[in-house]
Amino acid sequence: METANRTTGPYIGAPIKRREDFRFITGRATFVDDIKLPNMLHAAVLRSPRAHARIHAIDTSKALKIPGVVKIFTFDDLGELAVPVPIRMYQLAGLERHLQPLLAHDKVRYVGEPVALAIAESRYLAEDALDAVEIEYEDLPAVVDVYEAMKNEILIDETAGTNIAAVHEFSIGDVDQAFREAEYIRREEFRVHRFTGNPLETRGFVAAFDSGKGELTVWGVTKLPHLNRQTIAAFLKMPERKLHFIENDVGGGFGIRGELYPEDFLIPFASVKLGQPVKWIEDRREHLMAANHSRENRCQLEVAARKDGTILAFRAMVYGDMGAYVRTHGGLVPCSTAALLTGPYRVPNYQAKIHLVVTNKTGLGTFRAPGRYESCFYRERMIELMAKDLAIEPVELRFKNLIRPEEIPYTVGVTRPGSAPTVLDSGNYPSALRRGLKEFEYEKLKPLQGQLKSGRYYGTGIACFVKNTGGLEPYEGARIVLGDRNDVAVYLSISMLGQGHETAMAQICADALGVPMDWITVYHGNTDTTPFGWGTFASRGTVMCGSAVHLAGQRLKQKLLSLAAEQIGVAADALELREGKIYRLSTEAVPLDLDEIVSRVRHSGTLNQGLPELEETAYFHSNQMTYSYGVHLAHVAVDAETGVMEVLKYLVVEDIGRAINPLLIHGQTVGSAVQGIGGTMLEELIYDGNGQLLTGSLMDYLLPTSTDVPDIGSVTLEEAPSPLNPLGVKGAGEGGIVGTGAALANALSNALAIYSIQVKSLPLTPDRIRAWISGRAC
């Protein structure tokens, strides 16, 4: 791991060990299932075992007779409160016809759809209650393939009248002309499979309604607690201020956790109705069928180019398998596939048409680099196919088409619905590629391409990428308060799901304010104490909230310097605040302790404009995304007789503008690369023709373990800080996963060149690899 050093203070850029670790390594953390309240009841969700069926009757009478079972809620109990799960973003016209009801009433549309909520004295009893509920279903045929669904022979929603929930198109330049002029055209159909994030902690809530005060506290929230509180308050017809949403410790998210699902509404509802705390903890079997799925996507991609390899145009038809309902992300996942399909390359003409199709499956949502993993796979595979056709070395073909630093900022055009144009903010893409080739010793590995040694074929694959981070939603905030005895509190508007923000934000604050890092405590996720914000996703935490912390820190520093200047009787610019003390520049005078200022202000009624607390709140606004970028390189060995592929070497080079804490960045890169390798080779959510989810447990949905991956090399570059925020940072949470499908597929194709295999679909499993080699259908 290596970073360029660009610190302006003692803390930013330093690989400081995490301060939050103590509670996790001692088992003293508080995850939502660790919360135990007096009088707490337990919930279990009755989920449809059918993929597509009408509900004729629900009989809860037997279940209610079980001692310890308190209540079973069905749709009718919601009454006038019944609302569907709303779409929060990418609200393309038509998607609103496919919103998910909180509980099914007339029809179920996917295996796992919530039909009833049982409340009992223990989870064991709640599950006994589920067993005893009798539901009369009338099975309907199910559709699980996007192309089949588009025939509209089996309708997911009869009222909508079509399974094509929405279509979005955009066009940049003149694609038709480019294809007419082209000396080379190739058309391919690619496919990415359905898989998802599977954080190790499943979802869960504890909702505690205080019927005395009429206030509700909810634990287990994350990602966007303020927004979610707003929505749940409206649902419950309660003032926002009477809901207290508290994020405690969170066992990972990867985009899956923190979005609104039916349970986000149902559990608070149950607590309000019953006047008792209600706990619901999702189990793994549920998680696989209830939490957002992701990635499944098909793309018919056409490229037009000159014979010398210059890309003239892309034309893409994208098909997203949305599942049965459109959830909070609206059309984001398939639209994101199209949005950055051109990646770091110069593609002057680009046309895309995105079809969002409903099927009888669990709904789709974001999973780390949504759409970008998919589009990187499509594009980087297409580049390899092109290279072979045109007899151009694949690396050279990339260099030829990579946007050059002098062209940046580079406007790609409007590639997201209703959004500002995609503008690549800063970067030196050829430099990152060169660095990757050098670090990976690509020249040494090249002669091994497709060679058979000791019974295995060797191959190296490359994938270049850009990833938009930050921005997306307009602002984040931070409030910094200087208290008694050298105590600095930083209140963040974002959430924490394991990224280490408690440490990184403290580093930013320490440098901006000029105090020792161990004075600082970071608070997050509590809607009562933290500023209003939009949340932690799209790797925007450090970009947005870090910038807010920086601004707030600087402002508080200025305030303190002004107060000190007044006290000492000098100009503020004759003073400096560092390491928690105020020094008079160019003198040997004894520095002033901040504590003195705190004390004076608290005791005065006039200093600091009459405000007794020394604090500053700052919001950082940006509607522009920053773009991290880089390259993935994979070296594999494939046993052609068994189809078993081993990843021997893997490297991610990523430029993130500026590294606040290289230890944390490295951790994100390695972790996301392993997640990507596992997703590419092991994980898949598989449905049968009847819409039954066959991968119903971790025995069938295979997560990568330590022996499935090599050590991951990671190089963090800081060659191109972002001009869009005061720190120059770009997000670092997703770059490590973006290129994994592409790099591995390219490596495999190169390894098995002798079999003329061109990988166009994922995952890369031994069975599929053998099928490609032997020419059988898979």
Partner: protein, 165 residues
């Protein structure tokens, strides 16, 4: 609904006596009856290892045992690793190497590592990699966990501890 039995059990050196439902899993018993919530549930079907504890010195998946089966046994959980606030070398090593991000899998890995190092006090990196292959982590990519186990092994053997960052 379900029958109950009294069990006597020692956890982290402390004796407990409790009345439990016979169908309650050992993991739930530790978490709910003893309020030792450091042991986590990631899957409840024996795959992820988040629930790993030591029973009579051996690493087991506590979600696959019934509480009544542990009557008379000696349990060790993550809460017993530190000596007050003085961390066990494994805990220190996890912090040194950034071997945790969300921290949910961490207690399971720590207890697995305790068992591994008891049997193999000097694992190579590859041996450590294999020894932890029964525990799943979604955040770290395993590399730093392997590094941490190897470092802790060094320290437990009394060798010179590598200077931390």
């Amino acid at each position: 609904m379900s029958a109950k039995q009294v069990i006597k059990i020692t956890v982290n050196g402390r004796a407990f006596e409790r009345l439990v439902e016979v169908r309650m899993t050992l993991a739930d018993f530790i978490r709910q009856e003893l309020d030792l919530t450091g042991t986590h549930l990631g899957c409840e079907h024996g795959v992820c290892g988040a629930c790993t504890i030591l029973v009579n010195g051996e690493a087991v998946r506590s979600c696959l045992m019934l509480a009544v089966q542990a009557g008379g046994a000696r349990l060790e959980t993550v809460e017993g690793l530190a000596n007050g606030n003085e961390l066990h070398p494994l805990q220190r090593a996890f912090n040194d190497h950034h071997a945790l991000q969300c921290g949910f899998c961490t207690p399971g890995f720590l207890m697995t590592a305790v068992a591994v190092l008891k049997e193999n006090p000097a694992p190579t990196r590859e041996q450590a990699r294999e020894a932890i292959s029964g525990n799943i982590c979604r955040c770290t990519g395993y590399q730093p966990i392997i590094d941490a186990v190897v470092q802790a092994a060094l320290e437990l053997r009394g060798s010179q501890r590598e200077p931390s960052k």
